[in-house]
C-alpha cells in the first residue's frame, strides 16, 4: 500500500469512480501498526480519530466516505460520527485536491499587504478556475486561509507542509516552476 502523497489526485477523480476502495489500515501494514500504537496511548479507541484521519489524508490526499467508514470500523465509532468530525475541521479534505495544495493567507494584515493580488496571481498561473477547484492537470488547488501566523512576513503561503513568506504576485510563476510536477 505505498501510495505516495502525490499519487491520489489522479487515482480519485471527481464523482464516485467504480474502482473498489483499498483500505489504508490493512492487517500487518505499517499504518496499522502506527495506529495501534497510537490507540494504546488513549483510554478509548475513538480518541485516536484525528491522527487516524491525518494518516488517511497523507496517504490518499483526501478523506472519502469509504475511508470514513474504514476509520469508523477501526475506532469503534459510526461512519456518521466520523463524518461529523471530518466535516467539522476545514483542514480535512472531503474532495480530492491537487498535488500542490496552496493556501494563501488573506487575513487583515496580509490583505493590507496585497494578498488579494497574490491569490489572483496563483489562480491565473495555476490554471485553477476558482478558489477550491483543482487545475485540469491535477497539479494545483488554491484556497484562501485565515491567519497563518506569519503577519510579519506578509503574504505567507503554505504549499502542502511548507511555508513560503513575503510572496508577491511577481514571485508566483517562479514559485510554481520550482514546485516541479
Amino acid at each position: 500500500m505505498s501510495h505516495g502523497p502525490s499519487a491520489p489526485a489522479h487515482a480519485h477523480g471527481h464523482g464516485g469512480e467504480a474502482a473498489p476502495y483499498v483500505p489504508v489500515f490493512t492487517e500487518g501494514s505499517a499504518r496499522r501498526r502506527e495506529l495501534d500504537d497510537l490507540i494504546s496511548r488513549y483510554p478509548s479507541r475513538r480518541a485516536a480519530l484525528l491522527p487516524a484521519l491525518w494518516m488517511v489524508q497523507q496517504d490518499r490526499g483526501w478523506i472519502s466516505e469509504d475511508a470514513m467508514r474504514e476509520v469508523g470500523e477501526q475506532l469503534d465509532c459510526t461512519a456518521a460520527y466520523v463524518k461529523g468530525v471530518v466535516t467539522f475541521y476545514t483542514m480535512y479534505h472531503q474532495h480530492p485536491v491537487g498535488r500542490h495544495f496552496i493556501q494563501v493567507c488573506t487575513t487583515s494584515p496580509c490583505l493590507c499587504a496585497g494578498a488579494d493580488d497574490v491569490v489572483k496571481a496563483f489562480l491565473e498561473h495555476t490554471g485553477c478556475k476558482e478558489l477550491g477547484l483543482t487545475s485540469p492537470d491535477g497539479k494545483y488547488t488554491v484556497i484562501e486561509v485565515e491567519c497563518l501566523g506569519a503577519c510579519g512576513f506578509a503574504t505567507p503561503v503554505q504549499i502542502n507542509e511548507d511555508y513560503v513568506e513575503c510572496v508577491t504576485p511577481e514571485k508566483v510563476p517562479g514559485l510554481l516552476a520550482a514546485l516541479g510536477d
Binding site: 466516505e65 469509504d66 470514513m68 467508514r69 459510526t78 461512519a79 456518521a80 460520527y81 463524518k83 461529523g84 466535516t87 467539522f88
Partner: protein
C-alpha cells in the same frame, strides 16, 4: 437502595419538592412552569446545545441552562425574570438569523416551537441585514424530508437515532453557520421507527412526505385513538379535517409506547378514508343485494339465524365491545367464533423496553382470545359445519380462501366493505371503522385502551357495538344493556372476569391491564 432524597426549591414563586438529581427544567414542569426549550426532550439524553432554557438562579454568577442543571436545596429560580427573558430573546434572535421565516408554506406552522417561543418572548423584528445562508432541501429517505434552512440544530433527531433507535446514521456536519444535519454515506432514514424524528423536531426542518402540504396544523381536529396496525397498541392521535383522516401521530403513554409510533403504523391510516364503503344495510332479493332499512335487514338476519348455528369469523380489528356482543350472538345460537390475524416481521425499538412493531398485525388479538374466539390462521373456516350460518364480522376475510364458504347455506356480513368472492349474503350490515366509532382494544400485554370517534361513518353505517347489539337481540340474546359504548363495555366488564371492575371512566386514556395478565414477558 435507600429512599430518594428530596430537594425543596422555589421556582417562579412556587415551592416544589423533587428527588435529588432532578433538573431545574423538570422540577419546573412539576411545579407547572414551562421553561422554553428546544434540545431538551424527556425521551432523549440531555445535550444542552440550544441555550433556550436559560433561567436565572439566585446566587448563581450567570444564567443556568435548566435542562442540564440539577436542583439544589433552597434554590430560588426565576424563569421569567428580566435577565432570563433578555438572554432567551438573544438566543431566539440568533436562531432566526438564517431561518427563512417561511411559515406560510411550512407544514410545522401552528405547532412550531420556534414560532411559539418567538411569539411569546422573541423580538418583533430582526436586526440582521446580511443575506441569509441557503441550503437545498434534502430527501432523508423513508418518510422524512430535511428542510435544511429551517433547522436550529437542536440535535434531537441525531440523539434519537443514536440512543433510542440505536441506528446511528445522523450527525451534525460542518460547523458554525454552515452546520447542518447530515446522513452517513449510503445511509437513510428507512429504519422502522425513523419517522419519529419528524415528531421530535421542534421546528419545520424534518417534515413528513406523507403529510407534505396537505393541511394546516390549526385546521386539524385531534382525537385520541389507538394504532390499529399491530398488537402493541401504541397510543395515537388521529388528526382529521373535513371528515378525512390527514395523519396519525403518537400520543405519549409511558406504559405502552413512550413518545413513539413506528413508520408502518404511522403511515397505515389511508384505508380509514376509503370511499368504496358499505353505506346502507342490504338484503338478498332474487340473488341481488338491495338497500333496505336497518330493521328489515336485522329482521332478515334474525330469520336466517333462527334455529341455526352461527359460525362467526371476527376480525381482530374489532373492539372488545363488538367481540363481546358477537360472543352473546354465538351463545344464543350455540355456535362458535374464530379469527385470523395477518402477520409480519417484528421490529423492536431498541432504546425502549417492550416496544416493537409486533408480528401480529391487528390491535385486538388478545381481546379476541380473551373473549373465547379461536385463532385459526391456517384455515379460518375449519370449524364451519354444513348448515351453519356464516357471520362475517369486521373485515375478517382479507386473504382467506373463500371456496369453502359456499358450504355455508347462508352468509351474514357485518363489515365496512363487502368481501370479494363470497356467496351473496342474506343480509349485509354496514359498520363504522376504527376512526368512526368508540371502543376499546386489548393489547398483547393485556392492556385495555380506549379509542374515540374521530370522524363520521358514511351513509347509514352504524358503530359496530350498535349494529351487533341489535343483531344479538334479534338472534335471541337481548342486548338493550348496550345502548352506549360505555354501557356495552360495562356489560362486558360485568360478564368477563378478566375485565372485572373496568369502566370507561376508570380506563381513562391510559388504559388498564386485564386481570391475570403478566405485565412483561
Amino acid at each position: 437502595m435507600s429512599a430518594t432524597k428530596m430537594v425543596s426549591l422555589t421556582i417562579e414563586g412556587r415551592a416544589v419538592s423533587v428527588p435529588e438529581g432532578t433538573t431545574i427544567l423538570e422540577a419546573a414542569k412539576a411545579a407547572g412552569v414551562l421553561v422554553p426549550h428546544y434540545c431538551y426532550h424527556p425521551g432523549l439524553p440531555v445535550a444542552g446545545v440550544c441555550r433556550m432554557c436559560l433561567v436565572e438562579v439566585e446566587k448563581f454568577p450567570k444564567l443556568a441552562p435548566s435542562c442540564a442543571t440539577a436542583v439544589g436545596e433552597g434554590q430560588v429560580v426565576h424563569v421569567y425574570s428580566e435577565k432570563a427573558l433578555e438572554a432567551r430573546k438573544g438566543v431566539l434572535e440568533l436562531l432566526l438569523i438564517n431561518h427563512p421565516l417561511d411559515c406560510p408554506i411550512c407544514d410545522q406552522a401552528g405547532e412550531c416551537e420556534l414560532q411559539d417561543y418567538t411569539f411569546q418572548e422573541g423580538r418583533a423584528d430582526s436586526r440582521y441585514r446580511e443575506p441569509k445562508r441557503f441550503n437545498p432541501v434534502e430527501d432523508f429517505g423513508g418518510d422524512v424530508l430535511y428542510v435544511t434552512n429551517r433547522c436550529i440544530l437542536c440535535t434531537r433527531c441525531v440523539r434519537f437515532m443514536d440512543d433510542v433507535h440505536e441506528a446511528p446514521v445522523l450527525c451534525v456536519s460542518e460547523r458554525g453557520d454552515r452546520a447542518v444535519i447530515s446522513k452517513a454515506a449510503d445511509a437513510d432514514l428507512t429504519q422502522p421507527w425513523a419517522a419519529n424524528v419528524i415528531d421530535l423536531c421542534p421546528v419545520g426542518a424534518l417534515v413528513s412526505k406523507d403529510f407534505l402540504n396537505k393541511a394546516r396544523a390549526w385546521e386539524l381536529d385531534r382525537t385520541a385513538s389507538v394504532c390499529p396496525g399491530c398488537s402493541q397498541g401504541c397510543n395515537t392521535v388521529l388528526e382529521t379535517r373535513d371528515n378525512v383522516v390527514m395523519r396519525m401521530k403518537p400520543r405519549p403513554n409511558d406504559a405502552v409506547n413512550q413518545f413513539y409510533l413506528c413508520d408502518v403504523g404511522r403511515l397505515d391510516y389511508h384505508w380509514m378514508n376509503r370511499a368504496d364503503r358499505l353505506e346502507s344495510p342490504k338484503i338478498r332479493l332474487a340473488d341481488v343485494l338491495s338497500p333496505v332499512d336497518w330493521e328489515i335487514a336485522l329482521g332478515q338476519a334474525a330469520e336466517a339465524l333462527r334455529g341455526r348455528r352461527a359460525y362467526v369469523v371476527a376480525s381482530p380489528q374489532l373492539s372488545n365491545e363488538a367481540l363481546f356482543l358477537l360472543k352473546r350472538l354465538i351463545g344464543a345460537t350455540g355456535g362458535e367464533g374464530a379469527f385470523r390475524c395477518a402477520t409480519g416481521p417484528e421490529a423492536p425499538l431498541p432504546g425502549v423496553d417492550d416496544l416493537a412493531l409486533r408480528a401480529d398485525r391487528a390491535p385486538n388479538v388478545r381481546g379476541a382470545e380473551l373473549l373465547g374466539f379461536t385463532r385459526r390462521d391456517g384455515d379460518l373456516l375449519a370449524g364451519l359445519k354444513s348448515g351453519d350460518v356464516l357471520v362475517v364480522a369486521g373485515d375478517a376475510l382479507d386473504g382467506v380462501d373463500l371456496r369453502r364458504a359456499v358450504d355455508a347455506a347462508t352468509v351474514i356480513v357485518v363489515g365496512t366493505v363487502l368481501p370479494v368472492g363470497l356467496p351473496t349474503p342474506v343480509a349485509v350490515l354496514p359498520i363504522a371503522n376504527v376512526a368512526e366509532e368508540e371502543g376499546t382494544f386489548t393489547n398483547l400485554r393485556g392492556r385495555v385502551q380506549r379509542f374515540l370517534q374521530a370522524k363520521a361513518a358514511p351513509g347509514l353505517a352504524r358503530p359496530s357495538w350498535y349494529a351487533l347489539a341489535d343483531l344479538a337481540t334479534a338472534a335471541g340474546a337481548p342486548s338493550d344493556d348496550c345502548a352506549l359504548p360505555s354501557r356495552a363495555f360495562a356489560a362486558l366488564a360485568a360478564a368477563e372476569p378478566a375485565f372485572s371492575g373496568m369502566s370507561y371512566d376508570a380506563l381513562g386514556l391510559r388504559g388498564a391491564v386485564v386481570a391475570g395478565a403478566e405485565v412483561a414477558r
